[in-house]
Symmetry: C2
Subunit: 709 residues, 2 copies
């Protein structure tokens, strides 16, 4: 296997190849393969290297000399685009390998997505390409656009404007819609990647490449099915540490999954795992295509805010009120301009203008008013960013206003603040939107969309702030890791060959003193040694849910009660499960006080162990108030996952209860995550309850249930 | 006061006047008043009656003869548009009244929104108009557009296309943005109303008028501040019973409220009350302007679905997967086509097309494929509506596809199903969007927006289904109302002159047996009479929160304990509130079992008594898991408000608890609502806890706290 770095380097020819061959190019303008050649030679963004159509039956296409086969193509040629009937593709891939082609985009369908025959064909082309060290993108995708090279291997009509947003899509058809929309909106892109079936190159390979690409300031992802979960999570983390990454994943719901499955021929992973991966890596997950690009636009072209106080500059009160509502709902706040700023604004605005709260310049405001007001607000220490709203007015030149906003925003010193625009309208604002894009001011039609984009700027800013904090506690994590290795060494036993309590103990997760008795007298002796009161639990391989059969007796106070309890439990087992084998009765120290929580593990097919946290009883069972993260977990991950659970406020000590031992809870969840990560044979695990005792007294795993794969 | 019906009738001249005068019309094209005349005479939508510019200094404007003042204007003239400096407006209103003008739109600002001087001026013009029986719209609004008359009293450039959506806005500036957007999008409107300061005509007056207007199929509202809550709620209910009403309200958050206050000079009401009003009247509340019109478009032009199973027809898998996710998240479900339909689809689609789940016609699908597929899916009994998705393809004619969709949708028989379109793109889809509007097929750029519109169709359909059910239980409600009258008769006492328990008892709300003791021996006697165990509560006018000072002793078992408890409570009062007056100790029957809930009342300044429901303890205090409705309440309102609370699942009997007495809980909340509605002197009331006993055993108000205004 090549290393990740060399795998990345081998992707360069997909974006900046020296010479491109189109195998299967047609002269018929109604064919998709003709569209590819047309895109490559389009005068407005012509690929600058040599272009070689390959077609044994044509002499020339669009003025380019045609070659009968790839072996006849002269140097230099690095990239091949294959658009042939599927049965011809393996032979063509082999011919490319022999010719020394480094990278091939396979547009053709007829592979894994059509069933077993296609899947075998897909395996065949991967094997052939591997033999030659050639990389494949696709099949069943529309290929690559690099607006900076420029290079366009797709047959889609039109090319997105040059810009700084990278887009990777697992749906080729979606790309066509997005390209058409971005051209209409004037949204600029750096790279467009349609990865198709991902027979070879997938998103895990491409993320480092996009992260390193200087023309791409933001990475956007449309995903349906993720392969190689942990490596993908690492790639996300690396990429998101360098630049903003936004993602939308279909198959979030059962219905969406069905749609995905029939589309890509692969079952989508559980969404909880993907969502956890985004949270842990700092990826911004969105739930609509529009939000994906609205956010990307802001992140590509504006600086991050240092805080969440957003000032509103407007010529209309209604949209400002809607924006102010949206700010609060997005976790931002409306900046209140300082008295100094208000005085400056008063000095040139008309008397009725509002200068506190949203700065309302009123309907007559022109470009000079916007310029001076924006200058004043942008230098106010109480302001972290500005949303400039313009409703078209018969006597106001919207383009001039937008240009003034752009000039003031661009003239800021190093510690620049973000400026977004809401241009509320359409018929009369075409030129104003174009002017905004030209000035790198992201512009939105509705105030709610502009605020959502600000929300993403702030989400990214906070993430980087947290990342800084995390560096400072790196030492602590290093110590943690060292201890973890010790644990692993101590727990080399396979989970199946030890008791659940012993397994937890190997990870320094506290459990109550306990012993397994096979006779009433033995139980009484154990209880005396452990100390009263105790809990008695029926242990039987046939009975997984003890409480359902009355298999647990709490608060047993003396030896006589222990003996009686033993008999009762064995009797209940016989009554509910006639003929069952009873292993014995577990005698456990009864722990009093504390707050019951549940920590669970579920192994996700794609992403590995998914850890769940919630409060005990009805909070999980009835209210489904839980959060998820992927193991291994950092203490910061766990702190976030606790804070995400609404009922976790109970741990802070409400209604007279003492605050619970939060550090011990965090430690216990981190260790359960380690245990899950280091024992792949565990498919499900429930610590229920984990009893979190008052501050300083720790957390105890009272009952554990493990299901092995 | 005129009746509501006559108030409505008097609004006709705002929409279909016989003659319009523009007082303050200017010949200067840079003036807003010139813009009004320009809109009235615009050849494409010229107002068909006589137009009279009034300006003492001009001879003619835009070819119209000018009059020196309103008294000189000849018959017929019914509507005046005033655009003058504010100080001149009262005189002009008086002149209009003398001339016999029936309705005046006052565009001028300089009234309530600028402070006390303006507020006095506003009162003055209302008084003058009232003297003549003349109705005023505004001041400080941009007036009226009726696209069917046609009539446009605004100065906004452009006129929305003729259509069937009515829009009422409390922000004039917002209208300019919306008009510009609707022109760009080709969204048709019937009426546009900018009501300004609502000195006279307000939304409560206008709603019946829009409800009765046959050109308006849907009513959309942008609100900042609502006047006359209960009458407004009635108007909403009446309107929503006739046609769909959608509303967005700014000032939903503290930040948004500040923005509203500085804009309209009026504090916005609490949003919980507005939200409750929408739920109880069947108004669809949205949270963005885009959602307002996306939903209105669907409701105006498509039939309601009979169920929530939406089929997807697409030429691209990715957008279909996103739509399927969005369906589930919006409470809809992806229709699965029946085997018969699948066979029909198979008969003409290419082999790789998907016919179950989303019907994926694949990228080459043309108008014939869409036509036949839509015909098949629309007649499938497993389908309640169809979302047709089109991603532009180089070789597919998007306009032809849209026309095919429109033709099939229009050719449906009486039991028609709704069809919406997602045209994913922009640059190449301009004509396709126009074709969709022409065919009355609502079209959206992104699948998520199309699904949100379907969600609103389904929300409306469900509401009408529920309304049908409600008619069937009208008898029960009538009986209820009769009993309510008895209660009211029994509770003529002012709340301040009775005990809280007596007040509840007057409404047949059960309370535990209780008595107020002023001596330990008296307490012991009462306890014996009531029956043990009892609860002892400290009663003092100085101590509102008894539990905070240890002022409640539960589960007192005998007379000696009652005497001791009495002394303990009095001692605690002395210790925590030295010198306080202790009224006595209340002896109350201790009720065992049941689920604690809280029912609260808060009188909203605009909407009257707002009723809160939640579960006791941490569910309200820590988790804030509550719901609100406005009194008076129907049993259906209460059932909905209970089901909205997540933790109310506990009432169904979880973890071995018996199910709670839901009918008794509903009855108790309805009665508390009656009590609150009939006692305006109560500003706050908490029944905490209301103990809901097991099924058939009722609900008991254990403690009540009332704050009088």
């Amino acid at each position: 296997m090549p290393t990740l770095a060399s795998r990345s380097a081998s992707l360069t020819p997909f974006f900046t190849p020296n010479g491109v061959a189109i195998i299967g190019a047609s002269r018929d303008a109604s064919k998709l393969s003709y569209g590819i050649v047309r895109n490559l030679v389009d005068p407005e963004h012509r690929y600058p290297g040599p272009i070689y159509p390959v077609n044994p039956k044509a002499g020339e296409i669009l003025g380019l000399k045609c070659y009968p086969d790839i072996s006849a193509v002269p140097d230099p040629v690095e990239l091949a685009i294959l658009i042939l009937p599927a049965p011809m593709v393996p032979g063509a891939v082999d011919a490319c390998g022999r010719r020394g082609i480094k990278a091939a985009v396979i547009i053709s369908g007829g592979f894994r997505e059509i069933g077993p025959v296609g899947a075998a064909r897909e395996q065949e082309i991967v094997a052939i390409a591997g033999h030659y060290g050639m990389r494949l993108m696709g099949p069943n995708g529309i290929g690559v656009i690099d607006t900076h090279t420029p290079l366009n291997t797709t047959f889609v009509k039109g090319m997105p404007p040059t810009g700084h947003i990278a887009f990777l899509s697992q749906s080729g058809a979606l790309c066509g819609g997005v390209i058409d929309w971005t051209i209409g909106r004037g949204i600029g892109f750096s790279r467009f990647l349609s990865v198709g079936n991902e027979a070879d190159v997938n998103e895990t390979d491409l993320l480092p490449f996009l992260a390193a690409d200087e023309t791409s300031r933001v990475i956007t992802l449309y995903l349906e099915d993720v392969k190689g979960g942990p490596a993908f999570v690492d790639a996300l983390r690396q990429a998101a540490s360098r630049k903003p990454v936004l993602a939308i994943k279909s198959g979030r719901t059962a219905g969406g999954q069905a749609a995905t499955a029939s589309h890509t021929g692969a079952l989508a992973g559980v969404h909880a795992a993907f969502r956890a991966a985004c949270k842990q890596t700092g990826v911004i997950e969105v739930e609509s295509i529009q939000a994906l690009f609205n956010g990307a636009l802001a992140l590509a072209y504006q600086p991050l805010p240092a805080g969440n106080r957003i000032a509103i500059l407007t010529n209309a009160g209604g949209p400002a009120a809607l924006a102010a509502d949206a700010l609060e709902e997005a976790g931002l706040s409306l900046a209140r301009t300082s008295p100094d700023t208000q005085a400056v604004l008063r000095s040139f605005l008309i008397a009725d203008a509002q200068v506190a709260g949203p700065v309302d310049l009123l309907g007559g405001a022109n470009e000079h008013d916007y310029r001076r007001a924006l200058q004043a607000v942008l230098t106010d220490p109480a302001v972290d960013g500005v949303l400039a709203i313009l409703v078209p007015q018969a006597l106001v030149n919207a383009v001039a206003v937008v240009e003034a906003i752009g000039a003031v925003a661009a003239a800021q010193p190093a510690s620049a603040r973000p400026v977004l625009a809401c241009l509320m309208g359409e018929a009369s604002l075409d030129e104003a939107f174009k002017a905004a894009h030209a000035a790198q001011i992201p512009a939105y039609t509705f105030p709610e969309d502009a605020v959502a984009a600000f929300g993403m700027l702030w989400q990214r800013a906070r993430r980087l702030q947290i990342a800084d904090c995390r560096l400072q506690i790196a030492d602590r994590n290093t110590q943690h890791a060292a201890r973890s290795t010790q644990h692993a060494a101590r727990s080399t036993q396979h989970a199946a060959r030890t008791t659940p309590s012993a397994l937890l103990a190997a990870y320094d997760i506290a459990t109550p003193p306990e012993a397994l008795a096979t006779h009433p007298d033995e139980a009484a002796t154990f209880a005396r040694q452990i100390g009263f009161p105790v809990v008695l639990k029926l242990i039987s391989p046939d009975i997984l849910h003890k409480t359902d059969v009355g298999g647990v007796i709490l608060n047993v106070q003396d030896e006589a009660a222990v003996r009686a309890g033993f008999e009762t439990l064995v009797g209940r087992a016989a009554a509910t499960h006639p003929g069952t084998a009873v292993t014995g009765v577990q005698v456990q120290k009864m722990i009093r006080g504390g707050q019951e929580v549940i920590v669970g593990v579920k192994r996700d097919a794609t992403f590995g162990p998914l850890i769940m946290f919630g409060l005990g009883g009805i909070y999980v069972e009835t209210l489904r108030d839980v959060s998820f993260r992927l193991a291994p977990l950092t203490p910061d991950d766990v702190a976030e996952m606790i804070d995400e659970v609404r009922s976790a406020k109970l741990l802070t000590g409400v209604r007279g209860a003492p605050p619970a031992d939060r550090p011990a809870l965090i430690e216990a969840i981190v260790r359960i995550g380690q245990l899950a990560a280091e024992h792949p044979e565990i498919v499900e695990l429930d610590v229920n309850p984990l009893l979190v005792l008052p501050k300083g007294q720790g957390a105890v795993a009272v009952d554990v249930r493990i299901i092995l794969g």
